[in-house]
Amino acid sequence: MANDNSTNRKAILVTPEACIGCRACQVACKSWNQLPSISTKNNGTYQNPPDLASAAFNIIQYNEVPSQENPVRWLFVSRRCMHCEEAGCMTICPSGALYRTAEGAVAYDRDKCIGCKLCVTACPFDVPRYDADNKVTKCHLCTDRIVAGMLPACVKTCPTSALKFGDRDELISNAKKEGYTTIYGEKDLSGLGSIYAFKEEPKLYGMKENPAIPSSVVFWHTYLKPLSLIGLGGVVAAAAIHYLAIGPHKEKEEV
């Protein structure tokens, strides 16, 4: 869906420079969404869970990069669904489970999810996960909170304003005024809903360069999905699309 009311589009602005790595955002998310805990091990890093998971909609990534001045640079980057304007997951979702909210977030309807996992392969940021019931889960920009006039849980708890929520255009213009020269996601995929403010190259912080939806996803969406949905049941259609577009299913292991 093209965003007709782009001026009302809401976003989360992540400013890694202001993030202190306290991870209150991770707990706040789990608390609000009542997500089960994940049994983890320490794998030689502070980062835990190691990756996004069905019960971890956001994580802080701890990246270490070389430094001239100091022993190392230790960078903290909050990662979650990017709420793309051109959302590969929504494009490919055969059941309409993934949808756009009025505020511009990419949310999901568990009841409609058929568990086909097409969204997983269509996401350039490796975000969607599936829970124990084989239903899609991910950050939904706390849609239930923002419609009630509240901040997303992670933003509400962030002590240093490394996470901000608000009108997308306003967040971008304020960040620029504060001297952040690069807004990651300002234009990518027609504009992300999770945008990042940097004074340096985003790739230093581990941001994906030139994110794009796999072309096969676009192709199959445009030509095959309408046909298949006419003739086949959703799951079968999805499986067909999956096979043709991406290849055989590979189970992603959860931590």
Partner: protein
Amino acid sequence: MTNHWIDLKNADVILVMGSNPASNHPISMKWIMRAREKGAKLVCVDPRFTQTAAKADLYAPLRSGTDIAFLGGMINYILEKDLYFKEYVVNYTNAAFLVNPDYKGPADLDGLFSGFNAEKKNYDKKSWSFQLEESGVAMKDPTLQDPNCVFQLLKKHYSRYTVEKVVDITGTPEDKLLAVYEIFGSTGKPDRVGTECYAMGWTQHTVGTQNIRAMTIIQVLLGNMGMAGGGINAMRGEANVQGSTDYGLLFHILPGYNPTPVASQPDLATYIDKNTPKTKEPRSVNWWSNRNKYITSYLKAIYGEAATKDNDFGYSWLPKIDVGQNASWLMIFDKMFKGDFEGFFAWGQNPACSGANSNKTRQAMTKLKWLVNVNLFDNETGSFWRGPGMNPKDIQTEVFMLPCCSSMEKQGSIANSGRMAQWRYKAVDPIGQSMPDAEIINELYFKVKELYKKEGGAYPDPIVNLSWEYGDCDAAGKVKHLDIPTVAKEINGTFLEDVYDKTATPPKLIGKKGDLVTSFPSLQADGSTSCGNWIYCNSYILKDGKEVNMMARRGKDDPTGLGLYPGWAWAWPVNRRIIYNRASVDPQGQPWDPKRPILKWDAEKKAWAGDVPDGPAPPMGTDGKFPFIMKPDGVASIFGPGLVEGPFPEHYEALECPVEVNAMSKQRINPTIKIFGDKMDAFFSCDARYPFVGTTYRVSEHWQTGCMTRHCSWLLEMQPQNFVELSFELAKDLKLSNGETVIVSSGRGEVKAVALVSERFKPFKISNTTVHQVGLPWHFGWQFPEDGSGYDSANLLTPNVGDANTMIPESKAFMVNVRKA
């Protein structure tokens, strides 16, 4: 904190040394980052590259346990480069005071001060005194030139802390060291302010108190004390730990920092005489001269009508410590280990994991007949008898678990690091059989009282005479439920009769019988007022005939724009947000820094505007009073004879250290520390078996021994296991890879940990040798998670040796080994 959390935003330079606020005090970082947005510089000095270091404008590493060398070098730098704030130093400190010519320091005595008794390991402090005028006031040289003046002695003492020597001791790269000195030294100008944030990284050393003393000397040299954006700020490790010291939770103080009576003070008059500082300086407020009012009102609060003038207000019922007795944590567990105790209440604590040398603590508990564990959860303490290395059959200790409820399940006040007491309301009812601590105490009190009444006992008076009017009683006379606001009012204090100001003619009524006392200047020494804790007097007041809980206020106005928010909750004393604030103005009462005017004297109205001033007297330049009202001389003590190891901080190595000699002197360790002698008290310096410096710390995700947080699976998910951080260099030497499980050992125990190998730790160059340092959090314990996957407490490694003044254990610098599991 001399200042408060929000005030961090007012600083130009924030020195974080001895703490890691980004991880352990995240909310403070909100204000530190605000300061940075306005151009302030964040400087982080730490053995490891912490989360705070990651946000800092300048990071300098130092070897654990060498802070005094680092800070001593800074004092030397400030003096050599003439960066100190002269007017402040001359007027507001004892820099000009002339010291007894018999005083000698480490420069003369190779690491010792005059008066050392090698046998007793203590000092005769006679020579650590000032030369007095006939009037009894200290002699002064305002030109600061006299060779015996504090300023010159300071110079002499710290001229030994050359950059070369400091680098040799601390391992800090010279350019980083100088950069820190330069940037912090820049705050000696009246319109530049620097603050310091410390926590256990400074206190948990055998020289912990002197670490902080060294910084206070820097802060008064630079004129940063009393200023908005300045001060020296202890970041408390728990939301209410400020409250716990305010209320005398430590052995040596009663509520309101009144000293615990000693056996040699048999009556109230002697107690007051011994504990009231005297001064001949007419312009010193010497606030502690009010001791008699505070202790008498305290006795009236706890013993009520039973406290009369005839019985010394019940003074004899107060417990006394023996002369010279230290009854702190390490001593208690040493005594317990020796079998001197029958029983132990472990109330809201987990000594089996929190105490240094936990193996000794755990063994000590096997000597008890009974142990009562009051906690939210069972823990390593309540279950010590089935812990690692224990044979339950051999242990006779009977353990009782009293489940208490969490802070969300009761109302009351907490006092945060900024001395702000905030009222909290009960959110939910307690679960199951758990009860608020106060209710448990209530039950205990009436049972014990009943037994005393029935059976007599050795000394029933202190218990049976307690005033306990906290709510409605049942038929047996027991208070059914404690009314917490009533307790708060008792703490604030009450007029027990009509009290008049007798200096006025005719005498003026100060307070009516039965009314709440408005503030502590109204407290009396004759038993006509009660007050449970004088510093909290004014926290529950009578306003327009109504009782107002000041701590429950939620006003959001900030009239000064400096973040004082005087209408939000209440801060002791009398809602003062920055203490020593009279030092923020010049002798005429005008702000040193007009951009940050915390106080301002209006000569016409003869009144102060801004924060609540440190006493209403006019500024010292207008025939008023000196600014440091709690000090007998009225000024800040650069020369401070109060501590046991010397009037100036001197660098000594940790008890366990990696160097054979102290590069400063031949005195390697603090000469006044207490060393325990059992084989369980082992320590090893420069021993090949324990070649690496170890330290402990906390992480955001857990709290203290983890008793509460390990039971929260969301937190455990982020930090599931004990870990040890080390450098790539050390990992290579030991052939360890990142993420592998290792064993960390010390002379006292060992613990498993996951190796975190990173650039955040780097080896130090100390006296041309390489010294490796490692660090572990102390949040884990064997009892939970139940599968033991979290491993055990890092305090199995730490030494039970304490700071010579406070006996806080040296958990931040000790020696360990690391090996493959």
